[in-house]
Structure formats: structure tokens, C-alpha cells
Symmetry: C2
Amino acid sequence: MSPKITTELLKQLRQVMKSPRYVQEPVQAYIVPSGDAHQSEYIAPCDCRRAFISGFDGSAGTAIVTEQHAAMWTDGRYFLQAANQMDNNWTLMKMGLKDTPTQEDWLVSVLPEGSKVGVDPSIIPADQWKRMSKVLRSAGHDLVPVKENLIDTIWTDRPQRPCKPLIVLDLNYTGVSWREKIVALRSKMAERKVVWFVVTALDEVAWLFNLRGSDVEYNPVFFAYAVIGMNTIRLFIDGDRMMDPAVREHLQLDSTLEPEFKIQVMPYGSILTELHAVGADLSSKEKVWLSDKASYALTEAIPKAYRYLTPYTPICIAKAVKNALETEGMRRAHIKDAVALCELFNWLEKEVPKGTVTEIIAADKAEEFRSQQKDFVELSFATISSTGPNGAIIHYKPVPETNRTLSVNEIYLLDSGAQYKDGTTDVTRTMHFGTPSAYEKECFTYVLKGHIAVSAAIFPNGTKGHLLDSFARSALWDCGLDYLHGTGHGVGSFLNVHEGPCGISYKTFADEPLEAGMIVSDEPGYYEDGSFGIRIENVVLVIPAETKYNFKNRGSLTFEPLTLVPIQTKMIDVSLLTQKECNWVNDYHQKCREVIGAELERQGRHEALQWLIRETEPLIRVQ
Amino acid sequence: MSPKITTELLKQLRQVMKSPRYVQEPVQAYIVPSGDAHQSEYIAPCDCRRAFISGFDGSAGTAIVTEQHAAMWTDGRYFLQAANQMDNNWTLMKMGLKDTPTQEDWLVSVLPEGSKVGVDPSIIPADQWKRMSKVLRSAGHDLVPVKENLIDTIWTDRPQRPCKPLIVLDLNYTGVSWREKIVALRSKMAERKVVWFVVTALDEVAWLFNLRGSDVEYNPVFFAYAVIGMNTIRLFIDGDRMMDPAVREHLQLDSTLEPEFKIQVMPYGSILTELHAVGADLSSKEKVWLSDKASYALTEAIPKAYRYLTPYTPICIAKAVKNALETEGMRRAHIKDAVALCELFNWLEKEVPKGTVTEIIAADKAEEFRSQQKDFVELSFATISSTGPNGAIIHYKPVPETNRTLSVNEIYLLDSGAQYKDGTTDVTRTMHFGTPSAYEKECFTYVLKGHIAVSAAIFPNGTKGHLLDSFARSALWDCGLDYLHGTGHGVGSFLNVHEGPCGISYKTFADEPLEAGMIVSDEPGYYEDGSFGIRIENVVLVIPAETKYNFKNRGSLTFEPLTLVPIQTKMIDVSLLTQKECNWVNDYHQKCREVIGAELERQGRHEALQWLIRETEPLIRVQ
């Protein structure tokens, strides 16, 4: 893949950074954050400003352009990809490495005295603004809001903001009506003595109203904000989507309703004006609740004394704990997903030796098999279909320039998932279609041991996920190995494949405790640059654990895998497993065989069923 | 133990809280923090204000008295002790439990509108002031500094501040001269563009000047501050201690010295005035470095724009990494300490069955055996000598009212340590002098498995200690058990038994990464209220680990136990150990036998040697 040539673009950007047409005073640096106005991880093409200016299109990264420099901060998943996609104008700042400066420290080190650093206030999260602004100010610089987005001014063919039809989710999928969700939210607001709640994250708006959309690829969300008062519901959304009779009925827009459930529909673009009006109208002791990740512009609309900011909103926390119907939906989605993958792996086993299957073909085939399943909507993220050295690029996505042919000599890593109307999936399997080397098996087995250590972990109620992260690494650490990403993330229910407030990572500390009903991924890995990548990922449900004792009556939790796809036993060095680990694999495969076998049978997929039976033969551990 | 009756004292305190003699305006709440003006954990009797007002004398706790309420916040180690020592005037706030409010939230919930909350500004750390003041302000209250300490005004027989002679440590103990330490500190200051550094923690002053004292029990420190400039050294210290010829020579007070190493000695009480003078004299861009835990009063002396605050000072970080001579000293100290404990346990084994040994007698005997060792100075903390139900009081200290007789029917837990001129020790062993029950052995074995999991852990360079905490709990969690304290703390070198910036605890996140040369404790436990306590503690040294591979050339670390005292094999249920764990115990005991055996031999302690040999017989694991 050749890097994007950005010399001319950077020249233009540096011009507008000094142009009185856009800035009151010239800015000596301009920050281009990754997200959109909702701090989304996956963003619409019109919001891909950082990719436009730099060429780097990974899901996380912040660009900063000064008069002399252009620098990109991203994390371990993207070091290789960013290095490949960016030209020599750019310096890669590898986050998480000891010697990499923070954005603030770097700015302080390169800026001339008394500089102004510009950023779009509607995009930068308030907490980031606060942190940066403080450091910059104490070094004699100023962080300044630049209302017009400077990238947009030089982006001549910038796409339109999408505005696609909505999907109504009925109670069979959601388990709880939007009215009940509003009631629960208002009771949380009352607890905190808050009179308004501003919903800024797209998945939170979608979850609250039991609606889905397709404005953003992979995430079934739509561009909207909501502002909830104790007797008021305002939904900020564009287009004629509210003309759809199904949506009107679902939201009861035409019914005579108690006034506190009457939804006022307003234009998407009016949120800032409306919020300023809310802010101006508050009387003493009235507070407005926002996420501390809401944009600086929205946060500033509420006078400081009236703001109530929290890292996780009550919607984020409620959304994370899946109810019985959502859990059942997730189970169904994972069964269908496993069927598709059994078909795929059976097909790959036959086709790969012919030398005709590329990474892109394999990814397309995976999508094809998934799309045959009931209630399939779309993929839940860009399929990572990678073989050999490409497997070491942690968030690799095959493109024609890098597309490699699968072979019997290289490890193949497939990290993929889908959105079904009943649930979201995300699964990684690492396969070898020939004979893996002893070293590859050794590494795979350490990763598997880590996967099992998390999956089988028993821990007290109230434990935060980050405390489990080291379990996933212990077997790798013992041999001097490790991986540079977290171990797990929350997974939405027909929603974002990455969601808060829980996860399993050494990097977080402010995660909310794990609770029964939460769903996270368990995905340790091992990567050798230029050589191969290994990752084993299941989506797992937090469930109560039965334990021999019960200290302080706290109760215990553990995980139940929702993903039921065989883990390739050919890759396992059984001699490195303990008997307990060996039993875990065998029990897991037994369950795959029973549950997925029955569904393959039902769908008449006999060849895939034979493959499944072969792949779930028990391991035998010689003492 | 009967609680302290505090009705009259609280009445007096509530009077002075309103008295114009002490407060400009009445305060509706008064905070009594745990620490002294140096944020010491162990404090001199004159600083035990929280114990004076409440009766609770554990090492951690904050009291808040309002017109209606008196509440005490403390952590899991002290729940039982605090409940026993306080009368009905007090409400115990159990920190770490889900429903316990923070001090700020509690204040907001009980205070009348627009209240003033008073605190002694020379005692409250600046970071706590900031956090509390922010929450209180946003709820309409005010945190106000009350210059005269209100407890002191009602404490009629308050002891004098101690002022004991100093101990000079020569290069054989410290490895590095105070001049070299000043040079290193100034180079860290130059790196951060700082012109003054204020040393506020007592152990940091002691470490910097290679001096020790005995102003505070257990911690070999002395009351002093230091202010280091690029060409100036000011030591704030009282009494005639600077008249001691050994001290004068050590600090070269009478030599003609380069001016940048000339120490100006000033009265202890003049620090605030001097710091105000420093603050007033700064020119633009000159910064003053303080710990963010320095008192609010000292921090305020430096205008905000000139402050450079960090959670850990460069002295704290340098002090944590022990040099070769310090490490050797720590090894020697631990060998002597083990000799004393072998003598003790051999003695206990004979004496306990007679029914004449109480917790206090056992603690005294431990001190007696330690005091026979070379360079013994004092104990490093109050000996926790506890049997049966007393063992469940995590930081128990036997007093006549609670003193229990050791017997062959109850578990005995001894957590003790000493200050030797060459090092500091801290060791816990849990013993049974009769026949432990299957359940006691089971619990002991889970704790042992946790101890081994940490001690034998291999982890990458740069790993923070808190990432290892779950390893210590995993075996307990599997059975629904846990313990409500951290797993380890940094240990000083003939200095404080608890020191930063590293540790092993789920509670911290801002700890500094572990480095070779750091020394921490490894002390998981299990406690059943009203029944027994188990803890197994070694002090361990961070050392480089040899691993099969070396990911990203990061290198790996592991631990080497410095404590070499047998772990009672009678308490181990061998069937619960893996072969690896069994080998760890046998290797450890082999090393105890060799190293401590040789020293017992050298000291002619033949009976204790026989005991050691018997107690270090290898475990045999039947498959």
C-alpha cells in the first residue's frame, strides 16, 4: 500500500491556519481528532478528517499539524498500518511506548512561545479539552476553539452527512420499551438531582429509543441527539426519517400521550442553540447531566455551575447489562454466526491448497455465508482477513495492494463479526491449512492458555474487568512474550461492537465493575512483525458462578462463551496445557458440537457439520 | 478493649468550632486527618490527633466532626479495630465497600446549606484539599483553612514534638553519598526546568542526607524539611542535633565547601516563612517542585503559576531502586531476621503447649531474639501477634484487654519486622502448634498459592505492580474467597517499612512501574471474622528474569525472596498444589536451609538449626 501524498494538503491547511477568514488570530498548531461530534469510534465518510489530511484511516488516532511538523498519535494496533499509510511529512507517535511524548508535551516542546493551538470545539471531547488546555496554558500557550472546521475548508469533495431510514426494534428484541427506559433514566436523574440529561453518543440515542439506523458503516446508529427533561423529550434528528409510519407509530408521535412521553422532534443542527437555551433558563440548583466525553462546544453551552459530568452515563451503564431477551438474541446471533464460520472454514480447507483464495476472497466468502443467515443486517466491523506477515498488523483490513493469497505454509487470522437484528458478533480464529511449526504451535498455545485463563476465571461481584487482564498474559509473560493491546471490550446488542463501560484492559482503571448480564470479548493474541499474528477471540457473557464458599456474601461471577466456533486443535501443543485447560477445550468443543451441530443439521449443512465434528474431537493429554 | 469515651471531648471540639478565638467564622464541620505535616503514615504521639479525639489508633483513618455527627473513614484492615475502639458517638465509614459515601459526599448530605468545613492547612495534603474543596464548593459549601489546630486547643496534655539524636549512615550502608544524591536531584530538576525542590516527606529528607533518626516510632526518621535549589541547600531542623560532631562532619558543616554543597541549617518552624520568601522571589518561568501530597499550607506558599506538582518526587523514585550495597544490606538484615524467627518458632513450639504464652509474650520474645542480632535498631512496626479470632483483625496489636493465650487449637499469625542498620524487614508467618483442621489447611493453601503466583510471576519491564494483584487472589477467588487489603507495598532500606512509589494492589493505578532493584512485600491473606486469620508475607526483590524469548527486547522481571523463613508445611494441603507450586516451596525451603542454616551454625544456635532442618523437609506430592 503506498502512502497518501499530503504535501499539498498540509500546505493548504497551514494557509488556512493563518487565514483571518477562518481564525481570529493565526493558530500555530491545529489538532485533528479521530472522532465525530458524538465521539464515535466508527465514523461516517464526511467525518474522516484525520484520514483525509494524513492518509491513516485506522479507527484511533489524533493528528496535530504545526507550521513545521505533522504528527500522528496512535496505539499499538496501528503502528504498522499508520507507518504504511502516511508519507514522510508525518511523524508517527507510538502511544504506550515509554519515550513517546503526550500530545500536550510534544506541543510544548515544538511550539514557539505564546502559541495558539486550534481545534474544532464541536469535535474535541470536553475532558480532552480540559487536560490539554491546562497543560498548554501552564506552558504559556492557548488552546482556542476554531468554529469552522479547517479540514472541511480545504476538503473540496467532502461527502454529505448520511441520513438513511431507521429500523424499529420491537419488544421481542429489546425486552424493554423506550418509555420504560425513559422512566428508568428519569429515576436516575432524580437520584442525582439532575433536571436535564443530554444524550450525545449515537448508540445511546439508538438504545434509548429502540431504533437503529445505518448512517455509519458497521454501527447500526443514526445521527441524532436527545435531550431528556423530567417532563420533556427532545429528539434532534434530520431528514424525513420521522415521516416513516412505522417510526411514527413506534415513537407514538401521533398519539395523544401523557405530556412527559411526548417526543418533540427538532433539526439535528439545532442542538447547540437549544442547549444554550436550556443553559440560559436554569434556576439555581438545577443541573444538566452530560458525559464528560461530550464535545467541548456542547459542554460549554451549559454554564459550569450547572454541569453534572460523569465518565459513564446512566444509559451507557444500563445498556451494558443485557436483559433476558437481549441475551437470548445474542445467543441466537452467535449460533448463526458459528454456522457461517463452520461453512467458511470447511470451504477454506478445501480451497486454500489450490492457491486461489486471497484475503479479500476469504473475507467476502465469510460475509456471503453470514448474509445467508436469518436477520443478517451487515458486518459489525471491517473483516480482518490476514495471512502470514499481514496477521501481525493488528487491525489489518485487506486491500488490493496488500492482498495476500492464503497458503498451506502460513498462519491465517480471521477477526470478523456481523450485525443481526437479534445481536452483534465478533470472533477471531487463527488457522493453519498445512502443518504449523512447533514455534507457531507454542505461541498459539500460550495465547490459548491466556484465553482460557480469562474465560474460566472466577472473581467476586464488583470486580473491574481490568483486574483480569494479566490472567490473559501470564502464560506469554512466562516466556518473555506479550501483546500490545487490551484483552477485551464490551459488545452491544445489535449495536456497537465496541461499547463501554466495561472491558478487560491494563490501560483502563475507570471501568465500571463487571455485572451478570454484561457481554465482553476475550481476545488475547501474539504478533511477530513481518511474520505472523495469532489471536483467539470469543464473545463471553458475565454469569453468576457457583463457588464452594461465599466470602462476605458477595457472590462470584464468571464467563460463559457465546461464541461457539471450534478452536483449531492442530495449532495446540497439548503438552503445554494443564489437565484443567485441556478439559476446558474439550468441554467447549463438546458444546460447539452439540449446539452448532444441531443448527447445521437443521439448516441441512451436512458438509459443514462433518467438518465441525472432525474439528471438535477431544484433545488427549499424555501425562 | 473498651472504647474511648469521647462525649465530653466532642462537646469541647464543637465549642471551639464556633469560638471566634480560633475561627474567623464558625465551622459546621471539622476534618481531622490521619497524618502529620509530612503526610507520614506513622506519626509521633503529639500528632495523634485523630486517635485523641476518637480513640481509634490504627495507621489510617480520617475523622470528621459536625455539629450533629462524628464519623470515621478507614479501610478493611481496620474495620474491626475501629469498631472496638470507638464509642457510640462515632459512625464507622467502611472505605472500599460499595455503599460507603466518600467524605465529601457525606459532608454534602449532612451539612446545612452554605456550611464552612474547617481543616488544619498544614496537615491536609494539597491534592486532598483540592478534591474536597471542589466538591464542597459545587454543593454550596466552603472548605476553609483553620490555622490553629482545633484538636490541640482542647488537648491539654499534648506531648512535646520529639527531637532525638541523629544516626549518620556511612557509604558502606548507603552506597551513594548525600552530595551525589544532591547532584542527581539537581539534574532531575534541570530536566524539568525547576529551580527549587521542596522535600516534605520525612523519609525523603533522611534518605537524601544519609541520616536517620528516632523521632517517630518504627520509622527511623527525624522532623525536618529541606529546600534544594540549584546552588543552595536548606535544611530545616530543630534542637541541638546539628551540634553533634559526627553529624557536622558528615554534612561537612565546618568545611570550606563549594557553595552549592554548603548546607544552611534553619529552624524547623521557619519552613513556611522561608517558602513564602522563595515564592515571592521567583521570576517568570521559574518553577518550584513539590509533591502533590505536600500540605496545603506549604503548597499555597508558592504562587500557583510557579508550582510543579507530581504524585511521586524524584527522591521517592530514586529511593525505591536499591543500589548494590543497599541490596546487600537488605539481604544481611533478612538473614539475621530469619535467625531470630527460627529461634522464636522453635521456642514457641516447646512453650505453647504449656499454655503460658500470650500474644504479648510471643511478641516480646520475637523482639528479644531480634535485638540479639547485630545492628538491630528497633522494630519496623507494631508486632501483629494474634491467635484465633484476633488473627482476623488485620492490623491487630495485642494489648492487655485483648491479649489471648496461644494454644494448640488455634492458628497463630505473626506479622513482624525490624530496623537493622543495614536494612528493614517485614515478615508474616501463620502457624499451628497442634493439628490444623482440613478447612484451615485448605484456606492456608489457597493463600500460599497466591503468594507463590506473585513471587514466581514473570512480567515485562515497565509493568506496574497493580497488574500483579489478581495473581495473588486467583486461587481464593476460585473458591469464592478473597481478602480486603492490597497484596504488597514498597519497603525502605533502613527506612519506612511502607514506601512508594511501587506496590501490588488493586487499589492503585498511579504506581510507578516495577524496576530491578525495587523491594516490595508479597502478602496475600485470608480472614474469617471471629475465627482466624491467615497471611503469608515475604519481602521480595525485583530482579531481571531469564526468559525463553524476549518480545520487543523489553526484557522481563521477576522476584527473589529476601525473607528466608520456613512456611509451615503442616498447614499445607499438598494435594491442592500443582507440581510447579510444590517445587517452588521445596526450592524455597532448600534456600532457607542453606542460607539461614549456615548463619544459625555460625551463631551456634544449634537447637534452632535442628528446628529449621525439620521445617524445611521437602513436600512430596502424590500424583
